[in-house]
């Protein structure tokens, strides 16, 4: 326990919810981005999967939108300490996008329009854990929240859910992405409070 702050009583949540350690509940949807919001026209959008050498899969907006979609209800946990519960998203499961793809790679690096990157283990993308989403609460995803399409990996801190995604590279070794190179945790599990690179 920390040192007592004289005169601080705090405001306990009355809601019967369990949040990851160090998080507080918000009903807003704050925006965090490192730079300007890219504007990505749908007729130029594409998403590719490569192995560092060859492009293995490629979708344009139409072929991507022809894939079967799922609607999911998930909680979001941002490393800046807000959590937002019960958010609704529509998108394509990574299970669908990785189906029939034979790979022995264990890691991936996602790339975004605007040059953001973030790394994720392949095992965190399969089995209904990750989606490329294009609709939030029934509406097209706004550009400041990652539209036209962003990654959604709700079991990890939200910086892993890269906005404006354009592709992923399969890798045999874990390589840090943008924030992971700037002092944030390589994996980012909110329930283990893996915020910064020094965290266990």
């Amino acid at each position: 326990m920390g040192i007592i702050s004289r005169g601080f009583s705090g405001r306990r949540s009355t809601a019967d919810v369990k949040l990851p350690p160090g998080q507080y509940l918000t009903t807003d949807f704050p925006v965090l981005s490192a730079g300007p919001t890219p504007q990505v026209p749908l007729d130029q959008w594409e998403f590719t999967i490569d192995d560092g050498t060859n492009v293995l899969r490629r979708w344009n907006w139409k072929s991507f939108r022809d894939l079967p979609t799922e609607t999911v209800l998930v909680d979001l946990h941002c490393v800046t300490r807000w959590s937002k519960l019960g958010t609704s998203w529509e998108g394509v499961s990574l299970d669908t996008m990785l189906a029939d793809l034979k790979t022995d790679a264990s890691y991936t690096l996602f790339r975004s329009y605007g040059d953001y990157t973030t790394n994720l283990p392949v095992k965190d993308l399969r089995n209904k854990q990750a989606w490329v989403v294009f609709r939030f609460e029934g509406k097209d995803l706004a550009p400041e929240h990652g539209g036209p399409a962003r990654l959604l990996v709700p079991h990890l801190y939200l910086w892993k859910s890269a906005k404006w995604v354009r592709g992923m590279t399969l890798m045999h070794h874990d390589n840090p992405g943008f924030w992971e190179n700037l002092g944030y945790h390589i994996y980012g599990d909110p329930w283990r409070e893996q915020r910064y690179s020094g965290d266990e």
């Binding site: 920390g2 040192i3 007592i4 702050s5 704050p30 925006v31 490192a34 730079g35 300007p36 910064y196």
Partner: protein, 243 residues
């Protein structure tokens, strides 16, 4: 790792914002633009943590300053702006962040754009430049609701009068002083064109403020020819127009 900071000075910047100076034993040092986590704990062990940008330049004394704006429905900011007194102790962790930073080795023109309390990390950059005796060309465009909402006014004035001055432009959104050249309004293309470095000087731009402000300012900087990879942003607060 949490460190104990002792409050050594308090200063009210505005009616709702206060600067807290902490002396932190074994502070590892920081770079302008970084932030800290601050933890406060109730007698029963309940604790709350918030992130605040550092306002102070790096210094050898282990002193760190934050400026906290009181949020009407906040849990921690009313405590920090109204309850804390000198000699109180707060726990801090950091410094954190390696992207929205200005280092004294940078010599290129710097464009700072602040919306409201977004001035805080930019002030750390201005102070860092001054304490290092730097001469990198700095411009600051600072948008606030009204003159009374400006943080660090006297110090900013002193920096803009200095021989290696920081060029300073205020813009107001609600009410402006009498005879102010620009009527109260949000930042727009004309203001960005007049009050920021021309893009052919290839400035590095730092934009900090509420989300809608940052969206707008970063978009206007891009439209003026600044490359997106030269525009660094830091946003805070709710989006306002959603939900």
């Amino acid at each position: 790792m949490w460190r104990v900071g002792t409050v050594v000075a308090l200063h009210n910047e505005t009616a709702t914002a206060r600067t807290i100076t902490l002396e932190v034993r074994d502070w590892p040092g920081h770079v302008a633009g970084q932030h800290v986590d601050v933890r406060v704990t109730a007698p029963d062990g309940y604790s709350a943590v918030r992130s605040y940008s550092l306002a102070s330049a790096p210094n050898p004394e282990g002193r760190v300053q934050i400026t906290v704006e009181r949020l009407p429905k906040g849990e921690v900011s009313p405590y920090l702006t109204q309850e804390v007194v000198v000699d109180d102790r707060l726990e801090v962790r950091g410094p954190i962040g390696g992207w929205f930073v200005w280092r004294t080795q940078q010599t290129e023109p710097i464009q700072l754009i602040a919306g409201g309390s977004g001035i805080v990390p930019l002030m750390a950059m201005i102070r860092s430049r001054a304490s290092a005796g730097g001469v990198a060309p700095f411009r600051l465009l600072y948008s606030a609701r009204e003159p009374g909402a400006i943080f660090y006014r006297n110090e900013l004035q002193a920096f803009s009068d200095h021989e290696h001055s920081v060029s300073l432009t205020y813009a107001y959104t609600r009410s402006a002083p009498k005879d102010w050249p620009r009527p109260p309004s949000r930042i727009d293309a004309a203001l960005i064109a007049n009050a920021t470095w021309p893009s052919n000087l290839v400035p590095t731009c730092y934009v900090c403020g509420p989300t809608s402000f940052v969206e707008s300012a970063a978009g206007l900087l891009s439209a003026c020819g600044n490359s997106p990879d030269k525009i660094r942003t830091e946003r805070f607060g709710p989006t306002g127009d959603r939900q």
